[in-house]
């Protein structure tokens, strides 16, 4: 960077707050200058050390504030029509020392001036300065990715704010290598698949602390519970270091919550939205207030004989309504007190949304037709109406006792209440072809996560650092009175009422954990090295409750059935002894305690200026015990699983030059089975009963990563990487027959060794006000499992027996898409404060549901969604902006197929609707409608 031949004068404006009044001199000069020539002033505003562009840095003529510009995405600025003569420009950027530069313009000669800004050096707290508002910027994200010892991708709060997404789950899909599983009832993202590894292979952190899941069976956390706006940044960590918990094979999602700001900050936003779905049809709402939160057995004791009158019908009355607009609001207040030693931030976000989906579903029979050809039980038109209320509260206190000691207390609470009604009309394709089954289901799903972490950071001796965390976390889920009303009719019979089942289930998962880390940062080979040791202990207790009551219709007089008219007229009774007790002992009930103790040692060193090596070992000890209320005669009434894992890792980072790195990582990691999966239960599932497996082992993986990184400027990057994973004992579900000869069950099993490799490309580039952000991931995994076939012993002999057999089949792992791509086109005009972004997500086809039968897997078809978002500053003075988000612009359908020749489900044969291909069978099609949101954001 050449310094140019201009006289430069720099003044540190922080120290001298008063304006330098050399004004008159320049003013005089300007006045005297009567030439009408005009020139252009242009150049870059960059960080003096890193040469990174400082987007949004302001350059302004001190004597004519109308002459100004902001550095664009690539750091350039451009000011035209500058009159000849001497000018004084002030350049400022948050976290940097303000500069003033004299510029002499002669005639109409353009002037190129690159400005190098010095970060504010402040011995007191360098980290804090770097970390200011900055931490939420994309620049910070890129530089963190660059500086990290291991592989990670970061998405910043600024990117989230501008993104079309309002939940963390949906943000995740913008990150390279991540696909998001959507819920059928609203189309909202829920779980992340990282590099083709299913949700079970990933874990979630808040501020680096693992949080429990409200899921009643599994460890993974539903990512739609987190409102995006409380997040400072999301890190996807794809290579584990020894100081991280070792149970991720795909990756780790770390949600870093917002920190206390440097000075008083109040920001408020509010938005209104609507889903286009409800312009076309009503939202079906049930009365959420009358849902009985507790089952009769919980209210009156386990031996209580329930009466039909104990059950409400209020949640079976569905009113078609035009829903209120979606509401979305948040407030965040933060400040520092006591000489800036105490920082406080409180953020609240609340979202109330009405969404839904219209779906076509062909429900498969448990057993295929001979030849292992798919057979279908029913075809269904399902109409979902889903109200979601999402509340997030977070709060953090940090207190700087002195320059060597800091403590902080962090609290987060997230709540997601879903009220889902489903109306489905099913047409039988099986027994009683053409019969119509009408079902109305209401579900209340209340999920909560609370986390409280007390943390301390201490420099106990020179270069010796000690930090600790004491954690209390709890997750709750409550699904009270899930109920479905069913009536069946045929071409000759009027609808008759069917049995009804009321289900109550709730669960809690509580963690008490402590983390300790001790590090020594000596100077070795003229570079700072680090030796770090530490450990963690976590005590988890998990409780599940389940009860269900089945009631049968009372036959009409002189009839064996009850005609169905309305729910008010429906009459039910218990049949059979004991049935009015519900299911006091149910295979969904269980308690788990799990103690995890882990220790690690790691060592980091920089060799020959260029090579950064981090290596070490982690030892994790797991001690799980479960108990069930099953009778003594039940094999596996209780059990324990204890195991120890030794997990080495090594990470190399080689700096080719200032802005290019080569990285090579190896790490060993595990994935523990879900809590419920190791309990030898059998519960009824949608198509098959599900069975637990007490001998299920954890999956162990060896992971290798290689990545080339180029950071031309801040906010810009080109990453190209390759990864390879070998997973021993991967966990997937396979069909077994262990209950009895007839019933087949889906059981989680370990299946040999799976492999998974892929290529990741990330590209971020800015041209003036335009930016492109793109990433592409290719993944190929393979797993070999047993699958069943159902065919004649001799397919050519029609008299030979039909038999069921097992074959070994190799296929991709569930959830792994070959191709994933993201493309965002960005226009950012700092001057007028206008940002707009068009985002495209492409997800290639993947197995969404593994079938126990050969060739009958469910494949989710390639899907492309377009989203658009913008933000426009309305007033810089009061910092008010308007923003809008439009999601799912094309109302893209989610389509699922069985990849078997469709020779007899095409129109003309068995007339399964929605068929369009002779090579595959369309079994599911969901549409969620476009979502629009518009609102205002204000910050002080």
């Amino acid at each position: 960077m050449n310094e140019c031949n201009y006289s430069i004068k720099t003044t540190d404006m922080i120290l001298s707050k008063t304006h330098p009044f050399k004004v008159s001199l320049f003013l005089l000069f300007l006045v005297l200058n009567t030439q009408i020539d005009a020139a252009i002033l242009k150049g870059h505003i960059l960080d003096s050390k890193t040469q990174e562009p400082l987007i949004g840095a302001i350059i302004i003529d001190k004597f004519n504030e109308n002459i100004n510009d902001e550095a664009k995405l690539d750091g350039t600025y451009f000011i035209n029509k500058i009159k000849p003569g001497k000018h004084l420009f002030s350049i400022q950027y948050v976290g940097y020392i303000k500069q003033e530069k004299e510029v002499y313009v002669s005639g109409n000669k353009d002037v190129v001036l690159d400005i190098l800004m010095e970060p504010r050096k402040n011995a007191l707290a360098e980290v804090q300065i770097v970390g200011k508002l900055d931490k939420e910027s994309s620049d910070y994200a890129r530089s963190s990715e660059k500086k990290a010892d291991n592989l990670l991708n970061i998405i910043s709060a600024k990117s989230i704010q501008l993104s079309p997404d309002i939940t963390v789950a949906n943000v995740l899909q913008r990150i390279s290598g991540v696909t998001v599983q959507k819920t059928a009832n609203s189309g909202e993202g829920q779980y992340a698949i990282i590099r083709g590894m299913d949700k079970r292979y990933n874990y979630t952190l808040i501020n680096g602390i693992k949080i429990p899941s409200p899921d009643d069976k599994n460890r993974y956390v539903p990512m739609d519970i987190f409102p995006a706006e409380l997040i400072s940044r999301i890190e996807i960590i794809k290579a584990l270091t020894p100081d991280m918990e070792g149970d991720a094979i795909g990756g780790v999602m770390n949600l870093v919550m917002k920190d206390a700001p440097d000075k008083l900050l109040i920001s408020v936003n509010g938005a209104l939205g609507y889903n286009q779905l409800f312009f076309n049809r009503p939202f079906y709402q049930f009365n959420t207030q009358v849902v009985n939160q507790k089952s009769p057995a919980e209210l009156y004791g386990a031996n209580y004989a329930a009466k039909p009158s104990d059950f409400t019908i209020g949640n079976l009355k569905f009113n078609p309504i035009q829903p209120f607009p979606n509401l979305n609001g948040g407030i965040s207040i933060g400040d520092r007190f006591f000489n800036k030693k105490l920082g406080v931030i409180l953020g609240v976000s609340n979202q109330n949304t009405y969404s839904g989906s219209d779906a076509f579903v062909a429900v498969p029979r448990a057993q295929p037709n001979p030849g292992t050809l798919p057979g279908f039980e029913t075809m269904e038109i399902r109409t979902y109406s889903t109200q979601q209320n999402r509340l997030g509260i977070h709060n953090k206190f940090d207190f700087e006792i002195n320059q060597f000691n800091k403590i902080s207390l962090y609290n987060a609470y997230f709540e997601l209440n879903k009220y889902i009604s489903r109306h489905s009309v099913e047409t039988s394709l099986s027994t009683g072809v053409g019969n119509v089954i009408t079902k109305d289901r209401s579900q209340t799903e209340l999920e909560r996560i609370y986390n409280s972490t007390l943390q301390g950071d201490h420099e106990i001796l020179r270069n010796i650092f000690f930090d600790w965390s004491a954690v209390y976390s709890k997750a709750w889920a409550n699904y009270p009175d899930e109920v479905e009303l069913q009536s069946n009719s045929t071409i000759i019979d009027k609808p008759t009422l069917q049995s009804i089942t009321h289900k109550w289930r709730h669960n809690t998962d509580q963690d008490i954990a402590g983390y300790l880390n001790l590090s020594w940062k000596p100077e070795l080979f003229h570079h700072s090295a680090e030796i770090k040791i530490g450990g963690l202990f976590r005590h988890k207790t998990r409780n599940n409750y389940y009860n269900e009551y089945k009631l049968d219709p009372i036959p009409d007089p002189n009839s064996n059935t009850q005609l169905f008219t309305t729910i008010e007229n429906a009459r039910f009774a218990f049949t059979g002894y004991n049935s009015n007790l519900g299911s006091p002992v149910n295979q969904n009930d269980y308690n788990v305690t799990e103690d995890v103790g882990a220790f690690y040692g790691q060592f980091k060193i920089i060799i020959l200026n260029k090579l950064n090596v981090l290596t070490g070992l982690r030892i994790e000890n797991t001690d799980l015990a479960y108990s069930t209320p099953m009778p003594e005669s039940f094999l596996g009434k209780s059990g324990i699983q204890t195991y120890t894992d030794i997990l080495p890792s090594i990470h190399f980072k080689y700096a080719l030059n200032e802005n290019q790195n080569l990285r090579l990582s190896y790490f060993s990691s595990i994935t523990r089975p879900g809590f419920f999966e190791v309990i030898p239960y059998e519960i009824s599932g949608e198509t098959f009963d599900l069975k637990g497996n007490p001998y299920l082992k954890r999956s162990k993986a060896q992971n290798l990563d290689f990545r080339y990184e180029l950071f031309p400027r801040a906010s810009e990057q080109i990453l190209a990487g390759f990864f390879y994973k070998s997973i021993k004992d991967p966990i997937e579900y396979g069909l077994v027959r262990e209950k009895g000869p007839t019933e087949m069950q889906l059981k989680p099993q370990n299946f040999g060794t799976a492999t998974n490799f892929g290529i990741e490309l990330v590209f971020n580039k800015y041209f003036g006000n335009f930016g492109i952000s793109a990433n592409y991931t290719y993944t190929k995994s393979s797993i070999t499992t047993y699958k069943k076939t159902y065919q004649r012993v001799n397919p050519n002999d029609l008299t030979s027996d039909i038999t069921t057999d097992s074959v070994k089949v190799t296929r991709p792992m569930q959830g792994q898409a070959d191709h994933i791509g993201n493309l965002s086109l960005l226009y950012k005009n700092q001057k007028i404060g206008f940002d707009v972004q068009l985002s495209v997500v492409y997800t290639g086809q993947y197995i969404s549901q593994v079938s126990g039968w050969q060739g009958l897997d469910y494949w989710s078809m390639p899907n492309t969604t377009f989203d658009l978002s913008f933000e426009k500053m309305l007033s810089k003075k009061i910092n008010l902006s308007i923003f809008g988000k439009a999601r799912n612009l094309l109302n893209a359908a989610s389509i699922t197929r069985i990849l078997k020749p469709n020779d007899y489900y095409l129109p003309g044969n068995l007339q399964l609707p929605q068929q369009d291909s002779p090579n595959s069978i369309n079994v599911q099609k969901e549409q969620y409608g476009q979502n629009f949101l518009i609102g205002f954001r204000y910050s002080l």
């Binding site: 386990a302 027994t431 072809v433 049968d552 059998e682 007839t742 007899y904």
Partner: protein
């Protein structure tokens, strides 16, 4: 020792003498010792926990709490045993259960309290104690190698499992079947026995080698449920049974579950009265004979009276239509709705082909190409896309009264066909002039017993493998068949 114990031998001799009565023979009687296995079970106090050994003739035992016959153990009931079961309790069989009742000394397994049977025609099911679901039946785990019931009453089953004792895969609150058998390599023998009242299936044979002959089932299934419901890997015979008022099908075979071997069940010489009417779910299940989802077998010489649905060869999931044969089945109906469903049409769809040997023969359908086997059995991707289309059976209403010894046909004084659900004072034997006599087939090339069970101990062999008889239904005019 009670002389009743000799009855088995005497019966066998008597049966033998019927067939060989053409010549006078000397009579030799020798005593056969009663069958005993292990120790005698004590009747002093209510039973609970693990039990095995022999229950002695004439004694009454009470199952006070759930009992288990462990794998390797056998529980044997000598003739004339009464076994009373407390409410909600289960007899779980992991080993072997044998009940050797006789005609003169039948065994009784039922509630520990007495219910008055309400068998009056038209008594509402909702009030009928038959559907109380008192106890949870005989539940055989897959390790059970033999369940044998001879001349045994099983009554008032179908309760929900309680919280302290659950079979594999069951939750408390789940309704039990009357009998569950689930061992593809085990034997389920049920002869000359009775089942009265249950909530769901009377007997669910999820797999096994079966011999089910000459039994009587009444009031089985409250608002759904089949009589003998067999699933994948079940092989054997269901013959000479009398079914009155079954909720759905009374004999059913399906290959669902896909055990290695295919379901193959013969159903012959059964009598079905007023079956299929207690279905809360009108999805179109059957009302007498059902073959479904990959099952094969043969159905001949059955007498089907006023049942909601006739022989049902299911189209989707399709029975193994290529390997099912049927004919010589006799149908009678008092209403056109019955006669329109002899070959089931919607909502009970089927691919049952009208047979010229059936009585009545639906002559107009026989000549209609749309009801030909070639048409109905068109396989597309191993499926039968064609189903029997509606036809008019009104010409056959009240035609061919089978002339039961005591049962009014056409039904008089009875409001609904479904009002008949028990034998009571009726007698479903055929009068000598019955048109159903001699119309069946005994041609072994058409239908012959599969004789699938593999019991080797001569004491526990089926008493009689009754071959197909030429008289329609379960009662033969020569006295063979159902002995009730």
């Amino acid at each position: 020792m009670k002389t009743k114990n000799f009855t088995v031998g005497i019966l066998a001799l008597m049966a033998g003498s019927i067939f060989t009565s053409c010549s006078k023979t000397d009579i030799t009687k020798i005593s056969i010792p009663p069958v005993v296995i292990g120790q005698a079970v004590s009747d002093a106090s209510p039973l609970s926990g693990s039990i095995n050994g022999t229950m002695l003739s004439g004694k009454t035992y009470t199952v006070g709490d759930n009992v288990t016959i462990n794998a390797g153990d056998t529980l044997l009931l000598q003739p004339g045993v009464t076994l009373k079961v407390s409410r909600g309790k289960t007899i779980m069989v992991k080993g072997v259960f044998i009940s050797l009742g006789t005609k003169t000394s039948p065994n009784y397994i039922g509630p520990d309290k007495t219910f008055t049977k309400t068998d009056a025609v038209g008594y509402p099911a909702a009030k009928d104690s038959a559907y109380i679901g008192y106890w949870t039946g005989i539940f055989c785990e897959p390790s059970c190698t033999l369940l044998e019931l001879k001349w045994t009453h099983i009554e008032y089953t179908g309760g929900a499992f309680g919280s302290s004792f659950l079979p594999t895969g069951y939750n408390s609150g789940d309704n039990a079947f009357g009998i569950q058998f689930q061992n593809a390599n085990g034997d389920f023998i049920m002869e000359d026995s009775w089942m009265y009242g249950c909530i769901d299936d009377a007997a669910r044979i999820t797999s096994g080698r079966i011999h089910i002959m000459r039994n009587t089932l009444e009031k089985c299934g409250y608002i759904s449920g089949d009589g003998f419901n067999s699933k994948s890997g079940t092989v054997g015979d269901m013959a000479y049974n009398l079914f009155v008022g079954g909720a759905t099908n009374s004999t059913k075979a399906s290959n669902k579950g896909g055990v290695g071997s295919q379901t193959n069940v013969n159903m012959y010489n059964n009598t079905y009265i007023s079956g299929g009417y207690r279905q809360s779910d009108p999805t179109g299940r059957g009302g007498s004979i059902g073959y479904e989802e990959g099952a094969r077998g043969k159905a001949f010489n059955n007498l089907i009276v006023n049942c909601r649905v006739g022989v049902r060869i299911h189209n989707n999931p399709a029975a193994d239509v290529a390997n099912i044969s049927y004919g010589y089945n006799y149908s009678y109906g008092d209403s056109v709705s019955v006669m329109n469903m002899v070959y089931p049409t919607g909502p009970t769809t089927s691919v049952t082909v009208p047979q010229p040997t059936d009585i009545p023969a639906y002559t107009s359908l026989l000549s209609n190409p749309n009801y030909q086997k070639a048409y109905l059995y068109t396989l597309v991707g191993n499926e039968c896309p064609n189903i029997v289309t509606p036809y008019d059976g009104s010409a056959y209403v009240k035609i061919g009264n089978p002339m039961f010894v005591n049962f009014p046909l056409p039904m008089t004084g009875i409001k609904l066909l479904s009002d008949v659900s028990a034998v009571g004072s009726f007698n479903f034997r055929l009068q000598s002039g019955s048109p159903a006599i001699g119309k069946g087939t005994a041609d072994a090339s058409k239908i012959a017993p599969l004789n699938a069970t593999r019991v080797t101990n001569p004491k526990f062999l089926p008493t009689e493998i009754t071959s197909p008889g030429v008289d329609m239904g379960c009662y033969q005019s020569n006295g063979t068949g159902n002995q009730h």
